[in-house]
């Protein structure tokens, strides 16, 4: 079994804003494009034009309906990729040392040369964030675009994960979550950022910003948070009264 580093110098990760994510899948496909062309084996698509296409994706968006006690049902879009956990069970379960957590920045990676495709790590991950590539038979997972974020062949502003660079709504943020003064750490504090399934004890690096409360202007009973409008004229005087009062204002 593979050991985790005692500590890491940084803990890079993503902060994903569930209040803003419109569920457009831009991050999913941008990730697919970059990681097909870059780190390790391409992300394969089996039965690509057939009955049951199965491709490798490192990031997927799920949608969940929520029915609150009052007010209408809501739909939450929930992008999910590797959360680069501090106590990553996918690493400790790896029989070959292929799965590892980087000391430099806390990114969890798979060394494809050592991966035997046994699938234990995918089984150990409580988030379902790892996918065995159907063609190459190696384990694939989010690399946090380790080949972008330090890449000197890219302009500095582009040294962020592909999903963050492309997100049209700006719902994805990238940074060092171990640094309390970083932008992402501040965002997590301001917006009550949450761990996914904290009871699993994995201490995920990635954080989710919860959706803001919805449907507050009014509820069905009309007990809204702002007062309703007052007519300018009594109903009895009708249009003529309205005209007098209104057009006097000009």
């Amino acid at each position: 079994m593979t050991t985790l580093p005692k500590s890491t110098e940084k803990q890079l990760g993503l902060v994903i804003d569930l209040d803003t994510c419109v569920g457009c899948h831009a991050c999913v496909v941008s990730c697919k494009g970059w990681n097909t062309e870059n780190y390790g084996a391409p992300l394969a698509d089996l039965d690509a034009y057939g009955a049951d296409p199965v491709g490798t994706f490192l990031n997927r968006v799920h949608s969940y309906e929520v029915e609150p006690e009052t007010g209408p049902a809501q739909l939450i879009h929930f992008p999910k990729s590797c959360l680069h956990c501090e106590d990553a069970p996918c690493v400790t379960v790896c029989p070959t040392g292929a799965s590892y957590k980087r000391v430099e920045d806390g990114i969890v990676l798979v060394n494809e040369d050592q991966c035997i495709g046994c699938g234990l790590c995918a089984w150990a991950c409580p988030y379902g964030a790892r996918e065995l590539d159907g063609a190459e038979k190696v384990m694939k997972k989010c690399t946090l675009c380790v080949d972008r974020i330090y890449n000197e062949n890219l302009p500095e502003e582009d040294r962020v994960p592909a999903c963050v660079r492309t997100c049209p709504a700006g719902a994805r943020h990238f940074g060092d979550l171990s640094d309390p003064s970083s932008d992402v750490s501040q965002l997590v504090r301001e917006r009550d950022g949450m761990d996914l399934m904290p009871e699993q004890g994995t201490k995920p690096a990635n954080k989710y910003l919860p959706p803001r409360p919805k449907d507050k202007i009014s509820v069905e009973s009309g007990q809204g948070e702002i007062p309703q409008l007052t007519p300018v004229a009594e109903e009895a005087k009708g249009f003529v009264g309205w005209l007098d009062r209104m057009l006097d204002k000009i």
């Binding site: 079994m1 593979t2 985790l4 209040d19 803003t20 419109v22 457009c24 899948h25 831009a26 496909v29 941008s30 494009g33 097909t36 062309e37 870059n38 391409p42 394969a44 698509d45 039965d47 690509a48 034009y49 057939g50 009955a51 049951d52 296409p53 491709g55 949608s63 309906e65 809501q74 690493v91 029989p95 040392g97 063609a135 190459e136 380790v146 330090y150 890449n151 000197e152 890219l154 660079r165 492309t166 049209p168 700006g170 919805k214 449907d215 202007i217 009014s218 009973s221 009309g222 702002i226 309703q228 409008l229 007519p231 300018v232 009708g238 249009f239 309205w242 009062r245 057009l247 000009i250």
Partner: protein, 942 residues
């Protein structure tokens, strides 16, 4: 085992070269960086410098590599060898293909050009394709606006000189309340997402009005799950509330709209409802300074919205009186509309209060001085941080034009159009109706048409009717059935051509329009019309030419296929003459250029049109000596001048030996300048011209300099559309040109010059008891119409489209996961898989648009889920409404514009036995491209 951190290359080479062009995965037209390795496309990302997307890119755009390499790409020109609809073709040379096409077309031109119907689908080169059609001489040209969103475009232009969509956008930096109607995904795909993100980061709020809570409506702070087709009524109830409380911008209405214009109010007058005008034809207002009528634009005039004026015994009242009288009526009160709209009366009142609070209590001033068109200098601009956006959800109804008008009325009453924080136009808009052409339909054998096909009628005199009163156009656009049909009626072309009504045609020529499948109503019927033969065994529509890049369902129904390139292999211009990519702060246009050369025997469709024009020596394409003006589309883009100094592209034109922007002579290096600049050109609007554009003298001058206008053309917004009143007057028996009697009542009722609401037509043609449920489609954000399915990545996101059913209907039918239902409209029935959804109007079902595919199309295997479980609602929708006993068949379209009323559909739902395939199922089409490969491992080795 201890952790081993292998050394990895953190700075791999990304690409050999980045080529910057324009995306075409939808109509948003973002800038893209195409990373090239070894001459192949390796990766596509957004262009950070581009005015539309500023670096971001949606799922479709990022999946462009899969579209560019799709196995469904056509490979060579095709000639049909089997029966129509079989998909049996042989590959032919381009010489032969052009000979065949010209062999059919040239004789039509010499005898009767109207025998050609040329309709161009999702064309992004309409200023070019219309120029071609004009020079050919046929009146039968349009793109797909009639079945898409002409209600949105026309209502906006007739009301305020521009619409939502690519005509304008919210002032994202300053708006605090954004209200969105009927939008799942939009042409303005990335800008809306960027705007919503920015708005939320600034603490702004969003109200989403949509029967379905997905996407933008899912992140909206407030969701109004309205009953389909009632948006106009809901909006007019908001208008009622705001008027009643006096929460309207009176100064804005008086200064910048026709609310003070005097209207003939004598029901006995033949000019009842028309404006009082002076001898020069200018509408008159009462001037508060003099107490006398004066032209609305007279320097120093102070329009009075209260006073009435009597002239020759005829009382003239300001529009404001008519407006207030109508909408203060209790019939528009929240209590009266709540049941119909499915929105509680108190919720309507609360939303009206919130609109008023933000528009008036959070109003602000920007310290920007400007001069208005009356010559008055202002020291600041008043901001009202409320903005609106809407799209097909409200426009694709038979009451869509009036509903779009209602929404514009609402934002104009609040004074939020073209002000800081509100809705802003993008150049070349604002552009009033008076600056648009009228429709042209003058046909002469062997000659060009007498002007542009599409335009904006000003009254009955502009209808496209022949001397005998019959329609001049095959789609019956600009007729009494739909007088203001500014985009034509593509959805009526095939059925009219098949019926020979109003006349027979010889050749149907289409581009990028999947008319035998998802882009048509009555899909099975249309397949029959395309394959139907007359008593002599000849096809009723004798010739069909189709151009597409991909093996779509429509390919099988054509006789001659002209294969287009992919978007990375072609020249294009996204022109200010057409549907440009401007921002509210800037004029902009863009190009596409071949970042890779085609590896197949295909040609860009526009180049093929140039070649056909040259073969037929069409006038606009031919020099005086008979030689060709343009070799190909790129040559046209650079050298064509629509008028002196104005060409398809505004950037880097020539002024003497210097380059200049806007106006100028052609520059042979123009395309290279665009490529050097990242594929686009942008020119920013000066700060003091950036708002109040219709009335801002500074903006008007800037627009003239840019070549957007020939002369300043300030105007006021038409809350009252006099043109519509002219049609009503005709229907009341006034004037020389008279509608047929059976249309009089409908014109009187629906062409009201002030916005109204009436129930969608299907409601009065079918029994609500038999068809109690509304049925809709939505476009997924990760797909564009039928295109996404051939894309190996995107079809994994949206490969299935169950019918989503709300809780009440789900429970009433005892549905469980995996069940099937039969869905029946008055026109047809389908049997489809169902899924439960709670965040949905309780009387509405819906599915994703255009996921269902015909077997054999798009290089998919026969058992692809899209071809077995996927389905279209199109089978349930007819282009005509069912008979209602008056001996007539009424079009399933808006009576003002002719827009296809897709969303009027009513159905009933019953549980069905599980099916192997969605019904109806169709035979497999023969495919000219076969099926795509099993496994993709797409990596460009370098």
């Amino acid at each position: 085992m201890t952790s081993i951190s292998p050394t990895i290359n953190l700075s791999p080479k990304v690409s050999d070269e980045v080529r910057k062009t324009t995306c075409y995965m939808c109509a948003c037209r973002c800038g893209i960086n195409v990373h090239m390795k070894d001459g192949e496309v390796a990766y596509i990302e957004g262009n950070r410098d581009h005015p539309v997307n500023k670096g971001v890119l949606c799922a479709k755009g990022s999946a462009g590599i899969m579209q560019h390499n799709a196995p469904s790409r056509l490979r060579a020109p095709l000639k049909r060898v089997g029966p129509r609809g079989s998909g049996q073709f042989e590959e032919i040379s381009w010489d032969e293909a052009l000979d065949i096409a010209a062999g059919w077309l040239a004789p039509l031109r010499e005898t009767d050009p109207s025998k050609l119907a040329f309709f161009t689908g999702r064309d992004q080169s309409q200023s070019f394709t219309s120029f071609w059609a004009q020079n050919f001489g046929t009146p039968n040209y349009a793109a797909h606006g009639g079945f898409c969103s002409v209600n949105m475009a026309a209502a906006g232009i007739y009301t305020m000189g521009g619409a939502f969509w690519e005509f304008g956008q919210p002032d994202w930096d300053r708006t605090k309340l954004f209200m969105l109607f009927g939008v799942a995904e939009d042409h303005d795909s990335n800008p809306i997402k960027m705007g919503i993100g920015r708005l939320k980061a600034q603490g702004g709020r969003i109200i989403g009005v949509n029967p379905i809570r997905t996407g933008y409506n899912a992140v909206a702070d407030e969701w109004v799950g309205i009953t389909p087709g009632t948006d106009g009524l809901f909006i007019l109830a908001l208008v009622h509330e705001l008027l009643k409380a006096g929460k309207i911008d009176l100064e804005y209405l008086a200064q910048f709209t026709n609310a003070p214009v005097l209207v003939n109010s004598d029901p006995a007058s033949p000019e009842h409802g028309l404006f009082l005008r002076n001898d020069a034809g200018q509408p008159l207002v009462m001037d508060r300074s003099t107490g006398e009528p004066a032209p609305f634009d007279q320097p120093g005039v102070r329009p009075d919205m209260a006073a009435v004026w009597e002239k020759d015994g005829v009382v003239h009242r300001p529009v404001m009186h008519l407006l207030a009288e109508r909408y203060l009526s209790a019939e528009y009160g929240p209590d009266a509309v709540a049941g119909r709209c499915g929105v509680a009366a108190d919720r309507i009142r609360d939303i009206a209060a919130e609109l008023a609070r933000v528009a008036f209590d959070e109003a602000f001033e920007l310290p920007i001085a400007w001069t208005d068109f009356r010559g008055t200098r202002h020291t600041s601009m008043k901001g009202r941080p409320v903005s609106f956006h809407a799209m097909r959800g409200i426009s694709a109804h038979s009451n869509g034009f009036q509903t779009c008008r209602s929404l514009h009325l609402l934002q104009i009453l609040l004074g939020t159009v073209e002000v800081p924080g509100g809705f802003r136009f993008k150049p070349p808009y604002p552009k009033p109706v008076s600056a648009h052409p009228k429709p042209h339909y003058g046909v002469q054998a062997g000659k060009p048409l007498d002007g542009p096909h599409l335009g904006f009628v000003r009254g009955p005199e502009d209808l496209a009717l022949k001397e005998d009163g019959t329609p001049a156009r095959i789609d019956k656009a600009f007729t009494w059935e739909n007088p203001m049909s500014s985009h034509g009626l593509m959805h009526m072309v095939i059925s009219n051509a098949h019926a020979g009504d109003p006349y027979k045609i010889d050749t149907l020529f289409m581009y990028m329009a999947n008319m035998s499948w998802n882009s048509t109503m009555n899909t099975s019927g249309v397949m029959n019309m395309l394959t139907d033969k007359d008593e002599h065994g000849a096809y009723v529509i004798p010739h069909i030419i189709y151009s597409d890049a991909y093996s779509s369902e429509m390919v099988a129904y054509a006789d001659l296929i002209l294969p287009d390139t992919t978007y990375l292999e072609r020249h294009d211009c996204i022109s200010l003459l057409d549907r440009p990519i401007c921002e509210a702060d800037a004029a902009a246009d863009a190009i596409r250029w071949p970042v890779v050369e085609p590896d197949r025997d295909v040609r860009g469709f526009q180049t093929v049109l140039v070649q056909l024009a040259n073969k037929m020596q069409l006038p606009g394409f031919t020099n005086a000596d008979g030689s060709a003006k343009y070799e190909d589309y790129a040559d046209y883009i650079v050298n064509h001048e629509r008028k002196p100094g104005i060409g398809p592209l505004a950037g880097w034109r020539m002024n003497g030996n210097e380059t200049s922007h806007g106006r100028g002579a052609p520059n042979l290096e123009q395309i290279n300048r665009y490529i050097e600049n990242g594929g686009f050109f942008v020119s920013h609007i000066p700060e003091d011209c950036a708002y109040m554009k219709p009335w801002n003298a500074g903006y008007q001058d800037w627009a003239v300099e840019m070549g957007l206008y020939d002369a300043p053309q300030p105007y006021i917004f038409d809350v009252y559309v006099e043109t519509m009143r002219k049609f009503q007057l005709a229907a009341e028996g006034n004037g020389a040109r008279q509608p047929p009697d059976h249309l009089r009542a409908r014109i009187r009722e629906t062409l009201d010059p002030l916005p109204i609401w009436y129930p969608p037509f299907e409601d009065s043609h079918v029994s609500e008891d038999n068809y109690p449920v509304h049925a809709l489609t939505q476009r997924p954000m990760a797909m564009y119409h039928s295109w996404g399915t051939q894309n190996a990545w995107l079809r994994q996101i949206h490969g299935r489209n169950p019918l989503y059913v709300p809780t009440a209907i789900w429970q009433a039918n005892g549905f469980a996961e995996g069940d099937w239902a039969s869905v029946t409209s008055v026109h047809g029935s389908i049997t489809v898989p169902v899924a439960h959804m709670a965040a949905l109007n309780s009387n509405t079902v819906w599915t994703w648009n255009a996921i269902g595919k015909r077997k054999g199309a798009w290089a998919l295997s026969e058992d692809a889920t899209e071809a077995t479980k996927g389905f279209l609602l199109n089978h349930l929708i007819h282009e005509l409404l069912p008979p209602k006993g008056d001996g007539l068949r009424w079009a399933n379209s808006d009576p003002v514009t002719g827009q296809a009323a897709w969303f009027d559909l009513r159905v009933r739902i019953e549980k069905a036995r599980p099916q192997a395939e969605a019904q109806p199922a169709f035979d497999k089409l023969g495919s000219p491209v076969g099926v795509g490969p099993d496994t993709l491992t797409w990596k460009v080795k370098s």
